[in-house]
C-alpha cells in the first residue's frame, strides 16, 4: 500500500479517514454554532438550485409547488457546502498539478467514442434519473452513504446497497463486463 497515488494524490484510506474526522468536526461545529446538528449531504441543494433558477421565470409556480415549499428554496448551510466542494477541489487540483480540462472521460470515450454530444446526452439523462432517485430516497451517497451509515441508520445501509447493487448491474450493461477494457 502506498501513501501517494501515481499522480500525487493521497492514499484513499488516509483521505477517507480524514473525511470521517471532518464529518465528526462538522456535526459538532453545526451543533455548537447553529444550535442544530447538520450532517454532510449534497442532493437537497440541487432542489434548491433548481427552484432558484426557476424563480425568475415562474415565481408563482415555484411558490405554489409543495416540494419546493417543503425543502425551502434558499442558500443555506448545505448549499454553501456544495459550493465549497467545488472550491476545495479547485484548490487541491491546482496546487498539486492534477487539474485537467477534460471534455470526455477516458472510460466513456473507449466505449462510446470521443464525441461530446453523446457524453452530454448520457450525462444529462443519467443525471435526471439519478436525481429523481436521490430525492425519492431522500439522500445520495453523501447523505445516505456517509452520514446515514455513520449514524447506523437503517435507511443508509439499504440505500447504499441499492445504489451500488443497481449501479453494478447497469454499469455492466452500459460499459461491458470486467474483462472489457
Amino acid at each position: 500500500m502506498k501513501w501517494k497515488t501515481d499522480d500525487g494524490g493521497w492514499n484513499p484510506y488516509l483521505s477517507g479517514a480524514m473525511t470521517g474526522i471532518l464529518a465528526i468536526a462538522s456535526a459538532l461545529a453545526t451543533t455548537r454554532v447553529l444550535g442544530k446538528t447538520n450532517y454532510l449531504g449534497a442532493s437537497t441543494t440541487f432542489v434548491r438550485a433548481a427552484g432558484l433558477l426557476q424563480k425568475p421565470v415562474a415565481q408563482e409556480h415555484v411558490a405554489a409547488n409543495e416540494y419546493y415549499t417543503k425543502e425551502k428554496i434558499k442558500v443555506d448551510w448545505q448549499f454553501m457546502l456544495v459550493v465549497g466542494i467545488f472550491l476545495g477541489a479547485l484548490l487541491s487540483s491546482l496546487t498539486d498539478g492534477s487539474f485537467r480540462a477534460e471534455a470526455v472521460p477516458p472510460t466513456w470515450s473507449r466505449r462510446f467514442g470521443p464525441g461530446v454530444t453523446k457524453r452530454a446526452a448520457g450525462a444529462i439523462l443519467g443525471g435526471l434519473v439519478a436525481m429523481v432517485g436521490a430525492r425519492m430516497a431522500d439522500g445520495c451517497p453523501s447523505g445516505h452513504g456517509l452520514s446515514g451509515m455513520m449514524q447506523l441508520s437503517v435507511s443508509g445501509f439499504v440505500a447504499l446497497a441499492m445504489f451500488f447493487g443497481t449501479g453494478i448491474v447497469v454499469a455492466r450493461l452500459v460499459y461491458g463486463g470486467r474483462s472489457r477494457e
Partner: protein
Amino acid sequence: MNEQILGLITGVAFGFLLQKGRVLRFDKQVAAMRLKDMTILKFMLAAILVGMVGLHLLAHFDILAFKHKPMNLGAVAVGGALFGAGWAVMGFCPGTSVGALGEGRWHAVFAIVGMLLGAAAYAELYPFFQRTVLAWKNFGPIALPETLGLNPWLVIALFWALCLALLAWFEKKKL
C-alpha cells in the same frame, strides 16, 4: 459565524479531501461499479468507520443528536435503484459532480444540468410520488442497533470487523 460561512469552510475541506483521494473522477466511480478499482469504496468505508465511532461517542455523551433519514421502503428501494442506474451512466454523484468540475473535468456540467432537471422533475411529480411509492410502507427514522436489539458499540465492532475483512480482500485482489 453564520450558517453560510460555516458551510463554505466545511465544503472547501470536503472538496479538498475528495480531490486528494482522487474519488471525484468519472473513471473511478464507474470502475468501482465494474468491480475493477475500489478506490471510492475504500475512501467511503474509511470515512464511515472513523465517523461512526466519533459520532456515536458524541451522541453517547448527549453532545449531539442523530438525524436518521426515514426507512421508507418504497422510497429507499425504488429511489435507490433509480439513483444507481443514473449514477452508472452519469459517472458522478451529486457531491462529486461539483468537485469534478472544480478539478477541470468540465463535462461534469452536463451531469449537473441533468441533475437540476431531475430535481425540477421530482418537484413536479412529488404529489404523484406521495400517493404512490412514498405511501407504501414507512418504518420511520430507525437505527440498526435498536432494530437488531443490540448494543450500538457491538454493532460498530461487527461493522468494523466486516469492513476490515472486505478491505483486506480488496488489497489481496489488488482492486
